[in-house]
């Protein structure tokens, strides 16, 4: 299939764009694959891509119940960062960041990764110390981090309320300059195209409805398009993890599904050139290349599979936007939506072999899995191909909860709706 480039665009424009081919094929499922990946979201697609590109396993199918990118990859606030506190997380997310930095080239697809920085604001001396702690942890592990103070904030984020008149006045922020945003849909499409070009079958409208087992061993799946066998079956279904694993007889997992809403305003000219988070509540906001402010806050806070939220959170989030940016009060909310988060019991993910032989699990991404997309796929592919985790995902086991090796960035314990 043709490479994408400025030249190919011009050439095609001359022929009325009639020669473009589908970004990925629409194959019929084969009876059997080496690896079946359930879930055509970011993580499923990147896993397939890296299985083919890094681990030489190309006889792979990605089964997606709807259309590629219909899940959380297609509905997140697009923030990419590796500014973690705990040692278990940092190497993994930094690996992801490095993959992001070269992703458009690697995929020959512009995923528009914009390293415009993320600034986590703090508002009290205690919060300042917490942010310093995190920044120091980052630097000690080779990740970029710096403090920004109000004069610089004023210059870089002119609409920010620095008057000191807010409930939680801004004292400063912790910045990760290499962090930023990426075009979420493009990430799904780019990985899909990349995997497809390496021989992976991406099969849309193919819902997994059951598992084929010989004893404990998983040997395939039942789908809405028939039975498909595989030597290994890997699930990367994010918010649907419990539902899909229940099909394999795994009825209890350290995961709850919760709805997270996100919001965009109408498009306006550039007014926010970096990503900002609020320390007085829970808000993250950036401006898309199209001009919309894209933002989100807390999860709605109860189990849900509904992909839509309720009004109180909408009101909370708007009030937090205005707490920081009183100039945005007249901007208008264009659209709001929800996604189903696989909230884990410690707020950190699971990338592991098991829980049955022949089965592999990638889950527990909470609202932070978009940034993980490259490393998640890379580590999951490694785990599937080698049957053991890479050191980056070694801490993300399924048994860490019972054993007490939780990775709890927020210190909330087993209350997933508070992570």
């Amino acid at each position: 299939m043709a490479e994408y480039s400025a030249l190919s665009i011009v050439k095609n424009a001359l022929t009325g764009n009639r020669d473009w081919k589908p970004a990925w094929r629409k194959p019929e499922p084969k009876p059997a694959y080496d690896v079946i990946i359930i879930g055509g979201g970011g993580h499923g697609l990147s896993t397939a891509y890296y299985l083919a590109s890094e681990f030489g396993i190309r006889n792979v199918a990605v089964l997606e119940k709807g259309w590629v990118g219909s899940g959380n990859i297609g509905r997140n606030t697009t923030i990419v960062r590796s500014n973690y506190l705990l040692p278990g997380n940092t190497p993994f997310y930094e690996h992801s960041m490095k993959l992001w930095e070269n992703l458009s080239h690697e995929l020959n697809y512009n995923v528009m990764f914009s390293q415009r920085g993320i600034i986590n604001l703090f508002h009290t001396p205690a919060q300042e110390d917490d942010h310093a702690r995190r920044g120091n942890a980052m630097i000690l592990q080779g990740v970029d981090a710096r403090f920004v103070r109000p004069p610089e904030l004023k210059r870089r984020v002119p609409a920010l309320n620095l008057s000191g008149s807010s409930r939680f006045p801004v004292l400063g922020g912790l910045e990760q300059p290499r962090a930023g945003t990426a075009r979420h849909d493009a990430v799904a499409w780019g990985y899909a195209r990349g995997a497809d070009r390496r021989g992976v079958d991406i099969i849309e409208n193919c819902e997994v409805t059951g598992f084929v087992r010989e004893g404990d061993q998983v040997t395939g799946v039942e789908t809405s398009r028939g039975r498909i066998h595989a030597r290994k079956v890997a699930a990367a279904v994010a918010g649907s993890t419990s539902r899909v694993m229940a099909l394999a007889g795994i009825n209890r997992l350290p995961i709850e599904s919760h709805v997270l809403q996100a919001f965009v305003t109408e498009s306006v000219k550039p007014c926010l050139d970096t990503v900002v988070t609020y320390g007085g509540g829970h808000l993250y906001i950036s401006q898309s290349d199209k001009g919309s402010l894209v933002f989100g806050g807390d999860i709605d806070g109860y189990n849900s599979y509904a992909q839509r939220g309720n009004l109180p959170i909408v009101e909370d989030v708007m009030s937090e936007v205005l707490e920081l940016f009183p100039a945005f009060a007249k901007l208008r909310l264009l659209r709001s939506w929800g996604g189903i988060m696989d909230m884990s019991m410690d707020g950190s993910p699971i990338i592991a072999k098991g829980p049955l032989p022949g089965l592999y699990l990638n889950a527990g991404w909470c609202y932070g899995g978009f940034k993980a997309t490259p490393a998640s796929g890379w580590c999951f592919a490694h785990t599937i191909a080698r049957d053991e985790p890479h050191e980056f995902n070694a801490p993300f086991t399924l048994d860490r909860f019972h054993r007490g090796y939780v990775i709890d960035e927020k210190g909330q314990g087993a209350t997933p709706w508070k992570h």
Partner: protein
């Protein structure tokens, strides 16, 4: 969402605090006698169904009682609300 509190009547979602899976909370193991695995399951493992889900909510901005609510996690429709511990 509007939650019909058996004592206070129908009230706004904003008055309530979610406390998790009711069946799980009801299965708190005997602290003295129990084995580790049932404790592990109690603290960490959830059924997380799509469909009817029994859950505990505190009417924190109201009577402050904990309610057992059966709510459909797909439609958010509430089909049953009771007050655990309430004596008739």
């Amino acid at each position: 969402m509007i939650i019909p509190c058996p004592f206070c009547g129908p009230r706004d979602l904003s008055e309530f605090a979610y406390c998790g899976d009711a069946d799980n909370l009801a299965a708190r193991p005997d602290p003295a006698a129990s084995d580790q695995s049932s404790w592990n399951a109690f603290v960490y493992d959830r059924t997380n169904p799509a469909g009817d889900h029994a859950e505990i909510w505190q009417h924190a901005g109201g009577c402050r009682r904990h309610l057992r609510i059966v709510r459909n996690t797909v439609t958010h429709a509430i089909s049953d609300v009771t007050m655990p511990g309430a004596k008739a």
